[in-house]
């Protein structure tokens, strides 16, 4: 077993263990931190696979962005140190069983599948290649998805702003110029129960 493989197993083990901790620890802040480690683990896996660019993106976006976002939202929504309510035992058990079965099932299929490589080309990922292809409209170019994603980000931004922004009670100019209060009357929402 080469050093490389040892490293791989170590990284993998770390990643999985921290991931497991992230989804089981009762304290939310710790959970976030475990997630952070797990994501870093994944990033190191990328490093190990020599796709440094992805690893970098992983760290920047996930570790630097998403996890921070999550931590902020934790701060915003509750006491970070508090223990979270435990899942109902039945559900936990059932989920664990389902997940274990799913895993066994999936991995069984994967391990039985004979993956075949279609080309023996060396795998070279230069940042510049990625950059070029990213903005290339022709063959092997990814300009279109790039644009699509950019619109997605724009839309997400707009959505976030609208939703998360604490909406001030602001005046909307109506047709006749008279101001009306923006938030509408909250109508009584009945619980829909059909008597059966």
């Amino acid at each position: 077993m080469s050093a490389s493989s040892v490293i791989f197993y170590i990284i993998s083990a770390c990643t999985l263990v921290t991931a497991l901790l992230a989804v089981t620890t009762p304290r939310i802040f710790r959970s976030a931190i475990w997630l952070l480690f797990s994501l870093i683990g994944v990033a190191s896996l990328y490093f190990w696979m020599e796709v440094e660019f992805i690893a970098a993106v992983q760290i920047i976006v996930y570790v630097g962005g998403i996890v921070v976002l999550i931590i902020f939202s934790i701060f915003l929504t509750q006491e970070s140190g508090a223990k979270m309510p435990k899942p109902a035992l039945k559900r936990a058990l059932f989920s664990a069983l389902a997940v274990l079965f799913g895993f066994a099932f999936t991995y069984n299929l994967i391990s039985k599948h004979a993956f075949t490589a279609t080309s023996t080309q060396p795998f070279a990922v230069n940042v510049s290649d990625i950059g070029e292809q990213m903005l290339n409209p022709t063959e092997y170019g990814y300009l279109l998805p790039f644009e699509v994603v950019s619109i997605l980000l724009l839309a997400a931004m707009i959505g976030c702003i609208v939703i998360a922004m604490k909406s001030p009670v602001k005046k909307v100019i109506s047709e006749n110029g008279k101001g009306v209060l923006a938030p509408r009357n909250e109508h009584k929402e009945e619980v829909d129960e059909v008597t059966s």
Partner: protein
């Protein structure tokens, strides 16, 4: 490096996938659910990169897919968090069990 069979990498990703799924099934806190989703997406990313690198090195499909997934995940996370925050405003809680008004 060739001595690591691709199945092992896939083992890691699959395991990560199901760990994330377990979290999604059991965690009652919405933010932790979001975290679980991120784990799922990461496992997929590992898949893509591994496939691309070991099986189909000719094109960078997998790599680019990974990049886009990460981006989409970011957007998704942002919207999710926005929604959670809004939900927190209305419900004063981010426990999924508290947001079960709509049912049957």
């Amino acid at each position: 490096m060739q001595q690591i069979p691709i199945e092992h990498i896939l083992f890691v990703s699959t395991a990560l996938f199901f760990i994330g799924m377990y979290g999604l099934f059991t965690r009652r806190n919405m933010i932790t659910m979001l975290m679980s989703i991120e784990l799922i997406l990461n496992s997929v990313n590992i898949n893509f990169v591994a496939f691309n690198k070991y099986l189909f090195p000719g094109k960078l499909d997998g790599i680019f897919f990974t990049i886009f997934i990460i981006t989409v995940a970011a957007a998704e996370a942002a919207i999710t968090i926005a929604i959670i925050i809004n939900l927190y405003r209305t419900h004063k809680s981010i426990d999924v069990e508290d947001a079960t008004e709509l049912k049957y």
